[in-house]
Subunit: 598 residues, 2 copies
């Protein structure tokens, strides 16, 4: 990895503007850290913190850090944000349209740098070129290439050229994202600067890098979801896993079954219409983010289903701790054929609205005690010859449901199977795992990282996604809500824990080798929203989800401490783009790098 | 306490609009809880949740709950938000002007209820009358009366009259605040409704009910501070204790010593000018919130002081843990006479800008190791005859500083002493407490609630403010920032802990009686901002600071569980007024009251 320790400015206009400097401080890069120092007459080219950091330390200020060759040069050019243009796209293909929209986004973001007060006079133009095969497929399957190369050069006439080579729109968009991180506002000169001599070869280690968001425990408004996708794109996360319904509310407006949200949404306003979903999916595509809907079943259902006769068991049962893990209880009556008709109809609507490359079927936390409490349900089990003492018969009922639900999903998808995700659960237990086919199901792991079920899944050749709650559950650590004290998965998971949550290390600790990385699709930082809604969403997700993003993009061999200053810089970038990411440290630690850690 | 369990609607227009209802749900009050139920033909007057909650349960939806007589009736009137008027204020006094501004605020808030879509046709007018002595003093000393009575009646012509009687503007404003909580948006009818038959007698138990906010570790912008004051007013908190500077940054722009913020602010933009401070203080006055500035010394100084020769010792000393509690270290050179000149000048500017009724001198966490590491300082101590082995001599140096700083403050205040606050510290230790005069100093306690220093202070007849970190430090529970793991005062303090943090019970547990309540001025929920800034401020403060607000206003004999639904409703009210308060529970628990607790 190429690291720049010395900085020289190559553009004369920078010297000319030095007299306008208001701050008494500038920054010097030393041993990979930017340090605050007084501007004195000896300092001919004082550096702003953002300019210093763009070149200083491993990977400069790029987040997540590139996995291939990286050289950033040591020169900046004064850029005119009004003169950012795209070149070489004469096709009217969908890919070209998306690239053009992406460059426009870049341009408007650059125009806003420094609050839009930049002096652009004498700034240079930037031309962005795209090349490479740029395949037409925009469905974003798991094997899509997200690799790119980025080269930035200044031509003899002063113009800056950025060339991005990629095999897909998604790789090209990542290249643009990296380019945007090489353009900063220089607050000593009130100018936008771009790095000039850049060569980057980059691509992700894992193909599934996600955020799991629950919109049922509390509603999250559309604007906040779009903002979340924006933050994901900035961090090169590529999967928005939308846990859209649960027992608490059913905010998805199914066109065929409007009663689901009529009865199931918190209020008539707290719904996602088909139009909302399409807007979110389109915004996701533009930002290189696939949207994966989850319809959790047969547990985690309740509100929204109550208008259907005999579809729901144990709904709102009390005392709730006897029938489920949190109020309100609710489980599908899997003996009722009507349930599968309803499911197939909702699946069809979801597939129509989301056009998903993957589908999440949920499947966690089924309570045998719920089914066991319903006499008619046990009678139905008896007709199937299933035992109602002990768990084994209820597991058969669950498997019965899963088979029929999977078939309904396939029918809803015009007979084509959809790669399906399930949570770790009783079905992935030692005794039951053989029921599930690793060619049909991907398993999202929410157990602790030391849980033995992880080794079992990989031995059975399941592809897995890591959302182990001991490191990447973003809801942990707050006050409890069913009682006093703190919530169940306390303490709070700091960004350092997410950063160091290496899927590869987790499986190596369980006896596997680097070659078994093939079973790891990636991971997803999860926010369950019992105690978060639109108001607190940004702070819960960011910048911690970005910490996990670098882990999943790069699987770095190093720990969080080496990423600390880049993390702080990336957090600031999120805030500058309107995402209310939590602050991690006193700003003093960014201005006096290396002076804070123990 | 009068509690309403039955609701009847008295206004005909409500029946007329029932056909427009979109939600299939309404709410029924039963045993003090609002429960969701299907709207059926049997339901003649379906109630929206907000209307139900206004009358249901102890204190309805009023936060903090009134301490005197409370009767809310059981009728609402359809209100026209455009027709809210003030009556009986013909004077042009400052008090009248403030009351008029407050009623205008109420009016514009009511106009925004329900997103401004309310149908106001046929709504009734509201006249607000003020009476009582309404003293001219607006300096908000600790003994100002904040009591009020509120009466709401409907006249024969349909007009609604609200009469507020108070001895001061501050009491009258609290009455208006309570009135605003009796006006809600009825989303079943798209109308604004006001409670009709109200009698409330109310006033606070403690005179000092605060938020302590640090704006040095990270900068908090002016808009966020104004928003904080708004949230305080909504919760009847009355003291914004502004820890404006620390060793990390000096954002206060002293007119006489602009170098303090020139060198000490994080950036030239991250400052509070004299104009900013005056705007904040004026906004505080309007909202019944006194602003108490803190200039912490002789420790907790650093950035901003470095341009003064020999004023600062140990600044940025490393390894920091040898010289202070967190980076950067810094302590005043109390042997340097120049330090007192500078302090007096800053005090003068602060007094000019804040016109404070109280002044906070800080005084916490002096490191004897810092002073002990400076040879010239020890030589000065020797000239005073103070021992430099052990702590006692250094305590003498500290006392020397405190005496001179207090005198400088008095001089800066034109020779008049200002009630001064100090943190618990080495100076309030068993061996040193006699140095401090309880007639001069109020002590803000940040120790654990079981700390024996509390009993010592009360025995010595100090007035105290409770900010015990084990319950009301709002920064606890997040990730660590100088290392991995969680921060020093983890875990997170849930709202229940703040609610139950009774100052009276704390001293009773230490052997005092109810009569000793006279020594308790109140409390202040504290946010230290190492890991929070403008982005996350609202969620850190709210609604937890409001939980402490009820404790300090009412000292209820009951625990948080009895306040749960009002707390959730108040949180929603904060959000409706643009404050991004954290969600505490699934919305389901507000719509199915009583179904969630264990």
């Amino acid at each position: 990895m190429f690291v720049i320790l010395l900085l020289v400015f190559g553009t004369l206009q920078i010297f000319g503007d030095a007299h306008k400097i208001k701050s008494p401080w500038h920054y010097e890069c030393s041993a990979g850290l930017c340090e605050k120092a007084a501007i004195s007459s000896n300092v001919s080219t004082p550096l702003s913190l953002e300019v210093c950091q763009m070149f200083c330390g491993e990977a400069g200020a790029i987040w997540p850090k590139p996995t291939g060759h990286l050289s950033l040069g040591n020169f900046v050019v004064h850029l005119d944000p009004e003169a950012i243009k795209i070149s070489g796209l004469n096709s009217t293909s969908k890919v070209s349209t998306l690239l053009s929209r992406s460059v426009n986004l870049l341009k408007s973001n650059v125009q806003r740098l420094g609050g839009g007060v930049a002096n652009n006079k004498n700034g240079k133009a930037l031309w962005v070129h795209f090349s490479g095969s740029l395949v037409k497929d925009l469905s974003m399957p798991l094997d899509i290439s997200e690799n790119y190369t980025l080269e930035v050069r200044q031509l003899d006439d002063g113009t800056v050229n950025a060339t991005i080579v990629a095999e897909s729109y998604f790789g090209a968009r990542h290249g643009l994202e990296t380019l945007s991180q090489l353009i900063v506002f220089d607050d000593l000169r009130s100018q936008v600067q771009i790095a000039r001599d850049v060569n980057i070869v980059d691509g992700p280690v894992y193909p599934y890098r996600g955020i799991t968001l629950d919109t049922s425990r509390n509603f999250i408004d559309k604007a906040a979801i779009l903002r979340t996708i924006r933050g994901m794109a900035m961090s090169k996360l590529n999967t928005f896993h939308w846990h859209i319904t649960d027992s608490h509310s059913f905010p998805y407006e199914s066109k065929s079954l409007p009663n689901m949200s009529h009865y199931g949404s918190y209020t008539p306003q707290k719904v996602y219409t088909s139009k909302d979903v399409k807007e979110i999916v389109d915004y996701g595509l533009l930002h290189g983010v696939r949207v994966v809907p989850e319809l959790d079943a047969p547990a985690h259902v309740g509100e929204g289903w109550q208008w259907i006769d005999n579809a729901l068991l144990c709904f709102k049962a009390q005392p709730w701790m006897n029938y489920c893990v949190e109020p309100p209880c609710g489980q599908l009556n899997v003996s009722n054929e009507k349930v599968y008709e309803i499911l197939e109809t909702i699946y069809k609507d979801l597939i129509h609205d989301f056009k998903p490359a993957l589908f999440h079927m949920g499947g966690d936390e089924v309570s045998t005690k719920c089914w066991n409490s319903v006499e008619s349900f046990k009678q139905w089990m008896a007709t199937k010859g299933w035992n109602t003492t002990g768990d084994s018969g209820f597991i058969k009922a669950w498997e019965y449901f899963q088979t029929k639900a999977y078939d309904a999903l396939t029918r809803a998808n015009n007979g084509k199977t959809l790669p399906s995700i399930l949570w770790t659960s009783g079905l992935t237990d030692e005794n039951n795992i053989d029921y599930l086919d690793p060619n049909k199901y991907i398993i999202q792991i929410w157990t602790e990282s030391s849980d033995k079920s992880i080794a079992r899944l990989i031995k059975k050749k399941f592809k897995v996604i890591f959302s182990n709650y001991d490191a990447v559950y973003l809801d942990c650590g707050f006050g409890a809500w069913v009682t006093s004290g703190n919530n169940w998965c306390s303490p709070y998971k700091g960004w350092q824990l997410l950063y160091d949550n290496s899927p590869l290390n987790i499986i190596i600790k369980q006896g596997f080798s680097t070659a078994d990385k093939q079973y790891i699709l990636g991971g997803s930082a999860a926010l369950w929203t019992e105690q978060a809604d639109t108001s607190s969403l940004d702070g819960r997700l960011w910048p911690r989800a970005a910490a996990y993003a670098e882990r999943l993009w790069a699987e770095p061999s190093s720990s969080w401490i080496h990423a600390e200053q880049r993390m702080l810089r990336h957090r600031q970038r999120l805030v500058q783009k309107g995402i209310q990411a939590d602050q991690l440290e006193p700003e003093w630690c960014s201005q006096n790098q290396g002076a804070c850690p123990l």
